[in-house]
Symmetry: C3
Subunit: 360 residues, 3 copies
């Protein structure tokens, strides 16, 4: 154990805690010569964020650019969420996602009412989600909900009249995760914002099955918006038809080439981005992936390939990769707080709290 | 799922989230030409709220009037609970009630330390409630407690020296619920504040057993204070003697006529107010009520009858009634936040934080 | 039940809730003619607090003196932790300790993200502590962690780059408890700060086994720093060799005489301080102590002996002692909030927020 005496020469307060192992990227690259377009962000005002399908590419870009601003400047000092209450209703428990949302709110001086897990709620007595939604109207200005049931979003929306952010619904979607994913990707290669020549477009690998993995589902949907910078998507899944009818049609419409495999080693040496996730939903429980879907130091990645993972991870992603430049997943995790800050400010229309010279 | 693109024309921020299905009532009716009497409210300063029996009618009225003020004006901006810490100790878990209290505190700029359920506490290691109370003295300015044991209030009061609010103790009481109940009733018919001619008095129906349902017990006790506006109370219960000795005596003293039945259909067509609750305590668990105690669209209510329910509900109250003018229960639920705000400001003596022109 | 009407003559707001049964001590005694030495406290800036072994006597004294200042003055009004977020990660559940830390933070206007118990976390999905630590870097400015695993501290420190406070790790340590223990002892006898003549030194009794009881382990380690005011330590334990090799060597180096027994009655009549704890760790569960390690009204203590207990207690410490002047344990518990305040201000370097005339 680290039981040395205190050493003022090594104060952690002089360091930036976001300087993690792996890639550390300057968010300024995303907003240089490309000021934030407030009119686009205002589309979010008073709105619920339920699905990636609500977003177009322009809005994804502006949310990520706003997150970049919030990461680079100390905007928090202007107390953008002053007086606002957000409920974090995690009927499906989660440390990382709940804490990420709560940190985003508290950094902006908002207040939190927390439901850390479903057993401590009236749902245990049989209360319905529409009734819970009706109650929430009186308690808060915005609700963040995670739930094991895919239908939970539809149910609570029945009576909810304050904006809802979907933080994961069963095998459905996890749209704010996708925004965090693309925030990391765009920090890594800001030129993906535009239209690339075919020979410069990237090859994106996704390990997982959209039908049973909500982060994968949402990420794939958002990636289709970037068809001008992606030449090919390789999907590595246990399923013969991991896309299903609706997604197959969407992918075909996008014009992006698709390749499907059940072993990551088939394609890994050609991938620019490898997106992976540890767990698949099976009813109310989880299932972890087998060895054909794992990355470690021996995986033959391109030298400049980056790995994304929404974490928590199990053994599919070897911590030996943490110290390498393939590690974009720590940046991805840290950036999620700023993406969520951008969403709260936009949804609750608190742009006037941001200093004028920072934003148009 | 609602996955349409964002539509700025339909921003929820332009709506009042308290505008629910059912009756929507203007709280101003309660305070028009009847200013708040601060001297009465000051009786609460530094006091614990344990039982309805501590209240007289005058104090109930002033708490409800203060809640009406807090609902109609943006008093929160004067930060009435600034610097105050409240512990919400829900040793018996509950979403709705805990969140209602926490929202009340946060809206007034107080701070919350939350115990969302009993298993995560020292009680699991065998810590006694008197010891927990002794600790609480050092941690907070006020404690809100819910507990499965009826005796829990007595036990924690042994050492507690900051005010306690009883948020439900076993089969005992739930006094702040009754204040929320009567706040809704008085918004509905402000004339019930005074003395009505016998022919104008109302017929109150209560579905449930006071001995095993704390919300019913407290509501009945508080209703007896309104003997000048209630002509008859009909109690619909499975029990032959749902009142027991002490309550029977209290009811007799009030002079209100009492009728006891075991089927709501016996009396429902004559009731002005129908108060119901879904669950009865049986030891540490719950028991739901059978069909003789249910309301739905086919129940032959008076046209202007209103239904109260402290929620959460099970199937005894059909959601088909939500959209009708019988639905006073949503108003009742939303008003609970303001009643609790009124209590905190009164108990912690923060009247000086309310702008002078709003209050005498 | 206390169901009298409200009685404004007995407002609890006129009382000091810290005025408990037992000894009530003026913290001023600790700082009179002995101003706080800020240079010593600054050793803590940006540092993690993991073990008592990091402390020397001088630093223990300054932390206790700073706690005494915080207990006597209303320093909180200068908002020392304004804008700072602290995570209270109680993977091993606890009411008292979590609430004590959260109250300390909130009183100083910091913000809390709370993990009330381990089951509601990503750890349940198999997330590793190093990964959790990596996430925490993005969420907060300081982390307080309690964990059932002794190794948990080492694991999370692998990636954590914000300061960590160890609030109890398995059978390891509980260093902030020891600071609270010595804060109470020094308030009781401020002269223990200095070097006493041998005949004035005290006899310290410890009931418990350092190897399986972390509070006892940390308390013993800190007590060895006070070798100039302790003449003898009596250890009452079920184990023949309760100290083990490393601690035996440490104790021998200190020059303090040690006596080991398995019955408190062997030595209790000569003890000045009796330190006890209720529970020993056995793997993930607890074991309570038998009758040879209990105190009640019949125990033949010295008239001016004091009892310390980190609470929660079971039946080893009879509540009949609460009302006696032997009871230093309530003062000990209440003081813990101020010790933790002192740590947060020091670790996060917020001394500039304390009014100049209060501190050098």
């Amino acid at each position: 154990m680290v039981t040395d005496k205190f050493n003022p020469e090594e104060s952690t307060l002089d360091q930036d805690p976001l300087e993690s192992d792996g890639l550390n990227l300057d968010p300024q690259g995303l907003i240089e010569k490309d000021p934030i377009n407030l009119e686009v962000l205002k589309k979010l005002t008073g709105q619920s964020v339920l699905s990636v399908d609500q977003f177009d590419k322009e809005l994804v870009l502006e949310v990520c650019k706003f997150a970049a601003l919030l990461e680079s400047k100390e905007i928090a000092k202007s107390h953008p969420l002053d007086g606002k209450i957000i409920i974090t209703a995690f009927f499906e428990a989660s440390t990382r996602t709940r804490l990420s949302f709560e940190s985003a709110v508290l950094r902006l001086d908002g207040k939190i009412i927390s439901i850390p897990e479903g057993k401590s709620t009236g749902q245990a007595k049989g209360e319905s989600l529409p009734d819970i939604g009706e109650m929430f109207n009186a308690y808060a200005d915005c609700v963040v909900m995670r739930h094991t049931d895919t239908d939970a979003i539809d149910e609570i929306m029945h009576n909810l009249r304050v904006p809802l952010i979907n933080a994961g619904n069963g095998t459905g979607e996890h749209p704010t995760q996708s925004l965090a994913d693309w925030f990391a990707i765009l920090k890594w290669k800001p030129k993906l914002k535009g239209k690339l020549k075919p020979e410069n477009r990237i090859h994106l690998g996704i390990l997982g099955t959209p039908g049973s993995m909500r982060a994968v589902n949402s990420f794939l949907r958002m990636s289709l918006l970037f068809k001008d910078s992606i030449k090919k998507i390789s999907l590595i899944s246990e399923m013969a038809d991991p896309l299903g009818e609706e997604l197959t049609e969407k992918v075909e419409k996008s014009g992006i080439e698709v390749f499907i495999s059940n072993d990551v080693n088939d394609v890994v040496s050609d991938l620019d981005i490898i997106y992976m996730n540890s767990i698949a939903f099976l009813g109310d429980s989880y299932k972890s992936l087998d060895s054909r879907f794992k990355l470690d130091e021996n995986t033959k990645m391109k030298d400049d390939a980056v790995v994304l993972h929404p974490l928590a991870r199990l053994d599919e992603l070897d911590p030996m990769l943490d110290g390498t430049h393939h590690n974009l997943y720590f940046t991805q995790a840290h950036g999620a707080v700023f993406v969520r800050q951008a969403l709260f400010i936009s949804i609750l229309n608190r742009f006037h709290k941001i200093p004028k010279d920072e934003i148009q």
